[in-house]
């Protein structure tokens, strides 16, 4: 069986163009060295991994180690400089819940719009709408504009809509950390269920206790390079050492 997600030798650099100020423009840039015009930062260097269907893959690392860049590459919102990515067509992303919501529209209107943005047809959304409402437990509030919602309610609507889109791969960035304890557990169970039904998950998280419950394997990124890859416990051990935490003590 071919893997659901396969990345080979991904490289990605960000070119930051240093803006020319008006003063520099008129007075020349004698004090600026030539190569300062562009600065290049490697966000990812030679990253390879694969995720099988029905498997969850954890990505851990410091802030700025390239985790979010990796997710953006998988999502397709940015393109790699080098390397290949193989993915099924339907990818779900729990990167920023409610990115497409508009505060003046009701929960219902937002669910339909967001569903469409995520690639669902109107018919699909209509069929799943009751289930979306039920999962989010929003009930009557679905008819109110979401500017009246609390942050937790928006999260509920966002998660609930995304989890109902037919996706073969879900990309998850820290969203396990939001919502109240009960809803969090419900979301977690839902992700496990998604996995058991043959979906693949790529999870970025800092909640180290939770990760081994859902992921068998993972990798640790350090300054854009793969510092460790393999079984989740080895990766987490490596990560704790990197973070300066005493591995023996924590485990």
């Amino acid at each position: 069986m071919s893997p659901a997600v396969e990345c080979n030798g991904l490289w990605k650099a960000f070119h930051e163009r240093n803006p020319i100020g008006i003063k520099d423009f008129f007075l020349g840039r004698k004090h600026v060295r030539k190569y300062d015009k562009y600065s290049r930062v490697w966000a990812l260097q030679d990253v390879s991994f694969s995720v099988q269907q029905g498997e969850a893959f954890a990505v851990v690392g410091h802030n700025g180690s390239g985790k979010s860049t990796l997710l953006s590459l998988l999502l397709g919102s940015i393109e790699p400089d080098l390397g290949t990515i193989r993915l099924p067509r339907r990818i779900g992303s729990l990167l920023e819940l409610g990115a497409g919501f508009h505060p003046d529209l009701t929960g219902r209107e937002n669910a339909f719009l967001y569903g469409s943005i995520l690639g669902m047809s109107l018919r699909e959304t209509r069929e799943r709408f009751d289930s979306i409402v039920e999962f989010s437990e929003l009930g009557e509030a679905m008819e109110h504009p979401i500017r009246t919602y609390s942050a937790g309610m928006i999260t509920r609507l966002g998660f609930s809509t995304i989890i109902h889109t037919p996706a073969e791969v879900l990309l998850i960035d820290e969203v396990l950390a939001v919502g109240d304890a009960k809803f969090k557990e419900k979301c977690f169970d839902r992700l496990v269920q998604f996995k058991e039904q043959g979906g693949a998950l790529v999870i970025v998280s800092h909640e180290l206790e939770q990760l081994p419950q859902i992921c068998k394997s993972g990798m640790c990124l350090d300054q854009g390079k793969v510092a460790a890859i393999g079984s989740i416990n080895d990766v987490l051990k490596h990560y704790r050492v990197l973070m300066g935490m005493d591995a023996e003590l924590v485990l």
């Binding site: 397709g76 497409g100 003046d104 719009l113 469409s116 943005i117 995520l118 690639g119």
Partner: protein, 257 residues
């Protein structure tokens, strides 16, 4: 499969346009009535300004003005909004994998809807000025001309929207460009008033072909084959240009936003 994806894009477009319209009118007392009231008030202001204050001596000047004004508003408002569409939707572009070419298109179609709301206003002004207020040929001329204008605006808007991600100055230049073009295009004056020496250059402006075509339809229920042909040439040119520009430049939108 391809059919399914096309349908899905169409629905997305529909929901995006619906969202813009809803958001625009939801919190006002008059609601959707504004969609008609606004163009009416707008036409009224221009009518008063040019007819009673500036006292332009041309015959049927007010309908001449108004028949060109609304297609122009669709064009300039649509392109101005679409130019900012990637900035306005940056969180969406970074966080969701969607067909980005749809976003500027939704702005343009939203403005097209407003143009359609303004059609009754044009008819009212035609009738008020004792002109011929309805032609049966409009039934095919209006939709066709709207499709032509849409096909003209979309590649331009797409190019500006992508370019504005690279160089933010574009949105300011577009604003200035349209106020310049408003007077450079025979809009508040007929092209016959342009000195003969320059008239040829003014006629090269594709926006003149557009506005003059609309006038011929609204005022006489006629199409001008020459203008349509010239305008279609521009559409073909811009479509090719827009396609290649978008394909070449749109890949980096995600990281530049």
């Amino acid at each position: 499969m391809a059919n399914h994806r096309f349908r899905q894009l169409f629905e997305l477009l529909y929901l995006l346009v619906l969202k813009d319209l809803k958001v625009r009118y939801k919190n006002s007392v008059l609601g959707y009535l504004w969609a008609i009231a606004n163009p009416f008030a707008f036409a009224f202001v221009y009518w008063v300004a040019f007819k009673f204050i500036m006292r332009v001596q041309m015959e049927n000047y007010s309908i001449f003005l108004i028949s060109g004004l609304f297609p122009w508003l669709w064009l300039s408002n649509g392109i101005t909004q679409a130019t900012r569409s990637y900035q306005n939707n940056s969180s969406l572009i970074k966080r969701v994998n969607l067909n980005r070419a749809v976003l500027p298109l939704s702005n343009i179609i939203q403005e097209m809807a407003h143009f359609m709301f303004a059609l009754p206003v044009i008819v009212i002004f035609l009738a008020l000025n004792g002109g011929h207020a309805f032609y049966w040929s409009w039934l095919w001329q209006l939709p066709l001309m709207m499709m032509l204008q849409l096909a003209f605006i979309y590649p331009v808007a797409l190019i500006f929207a992508v370019a504005n991600v690279y160089v933010r100055d574009i949105e300011y230049l577009v604003g200035i460009g349209f106020s310049l073009l408003f007077f450079a295009t025979p809009m508040v004056y007929p092209i016959e008033q342009v000195p003969e020496a320059f008239r040829g250059y003014f006629a090269l402006n594709p926006l003149h072909a557009l506005i003059a075509s609309w006038r011929a339809i609204f005022l006489h229920g006629q199409i001008e084959p020459g203008l349509w042909g010239y305008f279609s040439l521009w559409i073909a040119l811009l479509t090719v240009l827009g396609f290649f520009f978008y394909r070449r430049m749109s890949g980096r939108i995600g990281e530049l936003l």
